[in-house]
Symmetry: C2
Subunit: 467 residues, 2 copies
């Protein structure tokens, strides 16, 4: 299927600690610079948001490449080197083989003896149309009451740009002793806080996306003419989708949850310490109650338990009004979020077997085909590592409070691969607010989070340089 994340990697050496005069922190002047330049930073975000770099539609990959080129150009202007690495081709469901947008690899020059931070992000975005219910044009960054609305504002153009701005600040106030080195730390800001308080993110769920296609009649037919005489693909598909998850949120596919790691008392305590307000969250989401009835249970359902969501059906009648059609070919779409220690290929096999068994029970002459995409592993970071300490200090400095230690319910496919391949510590340092609406209509980042987040990145770089 279609690649969903077009990665951007930036290698950044932490500045020489000697550049700060007599042990005094340079952060005050760094922060002042950020405050003074916030309008300029937001103007650049507006330029980035204006590029419709939707990666789920191959027809828009030209926009994705344009966005990569803009990012590359900005890094080069800042003195970094950039490679746009070819990652081969992909076969679309139409059968066409097309080149996948490249991966952006960038480095800022420096001393190989100093610790090096690898920043990971992405500049492609989810699809967005005004008709989805956006209050503003999704590709025209619009500030309303301190919030910056636009597709990619928080996921993930805003945070990527905040990292570049943090580097720019070091350059601007001439603390520019950057040095090459092997990677020591990997940091990613492709997530959001869990509450109104700043957080370090040490876990994320994996994901597999499934397409279950039911195909039978050669065409769409009139339900009056044929209704009652043919096995309708929609009837089959609804039965298949109804077999996946029950009304308590329990996944009904046999064996899928077998490998979920048991909860320990110490893990349970981390959830109790989080300032997540259940009543507040009910208002944000607009629901009278969640599937679970306590804060700890809701957080665990979002972060450390698997879930299954049904996203929609392609090929059926989806517009307003009335159409009495029997669709001839329909594709149901759902996804499963994996948690440690579920194994995506194993889950995908169990889904295949389950759907095959349910479909056999329908005795339908239609054809069923199940395919899957993404297949990203879940991730849990090492809380004891230096960079979590540095991240905690930076949060304390900028926001005056301890970080919340949180996980992310959504998926950053690279996290676990990174940790396994490099053997290095991976951390997520989010700056987006819990109500930013990433992947939804009216996506935004607040001016406060965008600017204070830039300060957090600058402070974090500084703390790493002190290790």
């Amino acid at each position: 299927q279609v690649q969903c994340v077009v990665p951007v990697f930036i290698l950044l050496h932490t500045p020489a600690s000697s550049s700060s005069a007599a042990g005094s922190s340079p952060l005050k002047s760094l922060f002042q610079y950020i405050d003074d330049h916030q309008d300029q930073f937001i103007q650049r975000l507006a330029e980035w948001v204006a590029v419709q770099s939707e990666s789920s539609d191959p027809a828009k990959w030209i926009e994705v490449e344009k966005m990569l080129n803009i990012t590359a150009q900005r890094i080069r202007e800042m003195g970094g080197s950039v490679e746009l690495a070819d990652v081969g081709t992909q076969q679309l469901s139409s059968g066409a083989v097309v080149p996948v947008p490249p991966v952006l690899l960038a480095e800022f020059p420096g001393d190989p003896k100093k610790a090096t931070l690898c920043i990971y992000g992405h500049v492609d975005v989810q699809p967005a149309k005004k008709e989805d219910g956006w209050a503003t044009n999704p590709y025209n960054l619009t500030e309303i009451s301190g919030n910056l609305y636009g597709r990619g504002a928080t996921d993930n153009k805003g945070p990527v740009l905040a990292w570049l701005h943090a580097v720019e600040v070091y350059q601007a106030i001439d603390i520019t002793q950057y040095f090459f080195a092997d990677v020591d730390y990997i940091v990613i800001s492709d997530s959001v806080w869990a509450s109104r308080n700043p957080a370090l993110t040490y876990g994320a769920r994996g994901s597999s996306y499934f397409f279950v296609e039911v195909d039978g009649p050669v065409d769409d037919f009139h339900s009056g003419v044929y209704g009652g005489s043919i096995h309708e693909p929609m009837t089959d598909l609804i039965a298949l989708l109804a077999s996946l998850v029950d009304h308590t949120g329990k996944i009904l596919i046999p064996g899928v949850t077998d490998d979920v790691v048991p909860l320990t008392d110490s893990e349970r305590k981390t959830y109790q310490n989080i300032s997540f307000d259940l009543e507040d969250m009910k208002k944000v989401v607009g629901v009278k109650h969640f599937l679970q009835d306590t804060k700890v249970k809701v957080l665990m359902a979002r972060w450390r338990h698997p879930s299954l969501s049904i996203h929609g059906i392609q090929g059926a009648f989806s517009e307003p009004g009335i159409k009495t059609v029997i669709p001839g070919r329909v594709i149901g779409k759902f996804s499963i979020r994996h948690v440690p220690s579920m194994n995506p290929p194993d889950v995908e096999r169990k889904v295949q077997e389950h759907l095959k068994q349910v479909f056999n029970g329908l005795r339908s002459p239609n054809r069923m085909k199940v395919t899957s995409a993404i297949g990203a592993k879940p991730w849990v970071g090492k809380l004891c590592d230096n960079q979590y300490v540095a991240g905690g200090k930076a949060i304390k400095n900028v926001f005056g409070m301890e970080p919340e230690l949180i996980r992310e319910g959504s998926t950053v496919p690279i996290l676990q691969d990174f940790q396994e391949v490099t053997g290095k510590s991976v951390m997520m340092l989010p700056i987006g607010g819990h109500d930013d609406g990433e992947h939804s209509k009216n996506e935004k980042i607040s001016r406060y989070n965008f600017i204070e987040g830039t300060k957090l990145f600058a402070a974090y770089i500084y703390e790493l340089s002190q290790v």
Copy 2:
């Protein structure tokens, strides 16, 4: 909801039988005229098809009115009088109250002492877009291998125009003794043959269209962030839709099929006499087998048993590709075809009760709303009436064979109302082929059916004048 049929009524007096010389039939010259003018008739159909008179979308009602005006203008040119009768306003789901397109009432002048035929049809059409998979532009009538492809070609602009052409022929060869009278017969050509053989249609199923809306979260949300913690409207909706019909086509809503009239032996025989070829039909539809295994059972399933079809879901992700969204508000759409003696309001009440009970079992904090539209009664005509005899003779004359006595699986809402209100005989005299694809992509009528159908109408008018 939205009105789906914009009716056209034409009152036509049968010609004075004295106009045929010495008892000899004038049909030969009528038919010759039709053959000589077929390209002109088809050109006029192309002009009608070009008007995108989709009635299910209120934004296109201006096109519906344009089509009504074209029809009215043509009837006036032919010497008929036309009234475009206001039928009030309708409230859309948006809350807006808009005027509904008018009903076209036309009369051709004549002698009140002669029998009068009421022809009913419609000139609005189902939605159609090239992207639905049409091989041709649906609004550009295109002839390929003797078939005329275009939206409305067979449903119902082609047949309405064939009626006007049949009248035109009488006028052209000066058999123009038309007279006013009260309606004696009502004829409708808004259906298709059941096989390759011409037919008289004496029954049609009714229909109720249902919208089941599940609305909860204020917005669409990211399935990673919230998956597992909220009652997803899609999960609720899939469970609701899965409770409606089983894989054998059996409707699971309690009590809905209680009132279906039992089958008699004589009725069973009419199905056995139909030349419907099950193997041929499997190829047309593209299925390996039907829900039933014999011709008689398949025909009964389509004509005299109720059916339930699920048409699609509005508000969920329906495009190609991947989107990991939890839709906040989704609307499932399905319809039930009624047969004698089911009562639509009674069925609608049972559907409401059933869905309410299933939804209560889901213990969801979401809101469910069930609404229904159409609510058309099923219809069965009186086979012993004069006009069925006249129709049979006309078919024998034009096609050289006995008519098949068939029913229609789809719905012409006016049929039963007509029969009840007027107390007169109603008959359907189809000219469309069984593979015309009305309501689907690549809708067409064949040149043969369009031209021979015009002859059939002329012959039928003649036979009625002989009664």
